[in-house]
Point group: C2
Chain length 267, copies 2
């Protein structure tokens, strides 16, 4: 079974939605995205391709989001299972909003200068304030992630910046921080912005081994020690924290947004 | 008009899809995501909230993706416009696939260790090979982005890593590279992996001014000069390139994936 995500835009919407649909089903599928399908020729070409695959006995499923009715008609005419992801909901929503849909207004993922700039700013901020690189800009931070090395701070900061335009700094907790009681001094003024990450020792050992095999840094003993210490700091200082072991970057970030009552910056 | 994106997961699917739907309509809406709504209590609480808003005369629209039928029923019972994003398509797809949907299989955005690791690796790679930081790892790169300072290389590399698990390095083209004819020496062995970014001079001037006002670096003259030079290099060396001025990071990345025939790494 082969599944296509087809769109006149990036096909990200078709992909995200289509994959969510497929996740209901316990079937193995080949997936392929077909972005920027925006001419009748391309649409006919795609149909021919589907036809050839059908002739070879290949079953295909097509999730598409296309605003031009003419192009949509071509795709729908294909001899395959094609699902117009917008079709079903468009008219009920027209009724609810009391205004007609305007296909040409359709600019999913199109650039909105304000949003764009604030996301790029946030990404640059995350890079400049990664791994405790600079602690003097913490006033500017909307959130400061804490955690031991390789607990997921950097990808999470970058995802928060990229997806939500959130300025996220991150501070690595190391043995130096364990000596003194409670939070490192530089963090104390920003207590309300702190969020801790933790991870299961075995998983951390695995990750660190991939980076520096057979080192003290990667040893199970060291991983367990560091994680015990940081979790003690989180609890003592009442810093909310999350175990990232079984979570994707998306899940970690969304949970943080919710717990810290952050909302997307639209510039 | 207020729009909610509700889910028992991250609500990213509901958000992406709901925003794509809304982009058909020329109406101003307040948007709010309600992720991890996974208990009946939470569902009833959310309905009460909707009721209060309705009482205040606020119009609300709810896009939701919830797998538990009991919880879904509560949301659908709300006195508001609620759209089950999966409902409409589930049964036709069941027929097409010839297997029944399994709500509990629903793990959209859930972690798949392999994918996770390869994305984190790619992010670390992008960071280590950002802005020409290190040119010795180019063998490992799946793509090397070229462009002048502030033409969008870094966010694009990071997005390619985060979204597709692609190892993207980026190399900043500077005046030093303009002196000699053609491509910088370090890039020549990797010609097939090169992709150029360019941007309109006025936009670049705007961006650089925000970073270093009234500098030669930000001057319109300098921006125009650098962009003329890099575009000449792209053409002379037949490096495919893209003007990022009016594109979002998503669009830039998706176009690059398509043009360079790259496909998502699933680890």
């Amino acid at each position: 079974m082969k599944v296509y995500f087809v769109s006149d835009g990036t096909a990200i919407t078709a992909e995200v939605f289509g994959q969510a649909m497929l996740s209901f089903f316990d079937v193995a599928v080949k997936q392929e995205s077909v972005p920027f399908l925006s001419t009748l020729d391309q649409a006919h070409g795609f149909c021919r391709q589907l036809q050839e695959e059908a002739d070879r006995g290949e079953k295909t499923l097509v999730f598409f989001t296309i605003s031009d009715p003419k192009i949509r008609a071509v795709i729908e005419s294909c001899d395959s299972h094609c699902y117009n992801l917008f079709g079903e909901l468009l008219s009920p929503i027209e009724k609810a909003l009391g205004v007609p849909a305007q296909p040409n207004a359709q600019k999913a993922h199109g650039i909105k200068a304000g949003v764009y700039d604030c996301r790029i700013d946030a990404i640059n901020y995350a890079l400049a304030n990664d791994d405790g690189a600079s602690v003097k800009n913490y006033d500017e931070a909307e959130i400061i992630l804490l955690g031991v090395s390789r607990s997921g701070k950097t990808p999470t900061s970058l995802y928060l910046a990229m997806q939500y335009g959130i300025k996220a700094a991150n501070y690595p907790l190391t043995e130096d921080d364990f000596d003194n009681v409670g939070l490192p001094k530089v963090l104390k003024p920003h207590k309300h912005k702190l969020f801790g990450l933790t991870i299961n020792p075995d998983r951390l050992h695995e990750i660190r081994t991939g980076r520096m095999a057979a080192s003290k840094y990667a040893s199970s003993r060291q991983c367990r020690y560091e994680l015990d210490e940081v979790e003690a700091i989180y609890r003592q200082a009442r810093v909310p924290f999350l175990n990232t072991t079984f979570l994707s970057v998306e899940e970690i970030s969304t949970r943080i947004m919710a717990e810290m009552h952050l909302s997307r910056n639209r510039g």
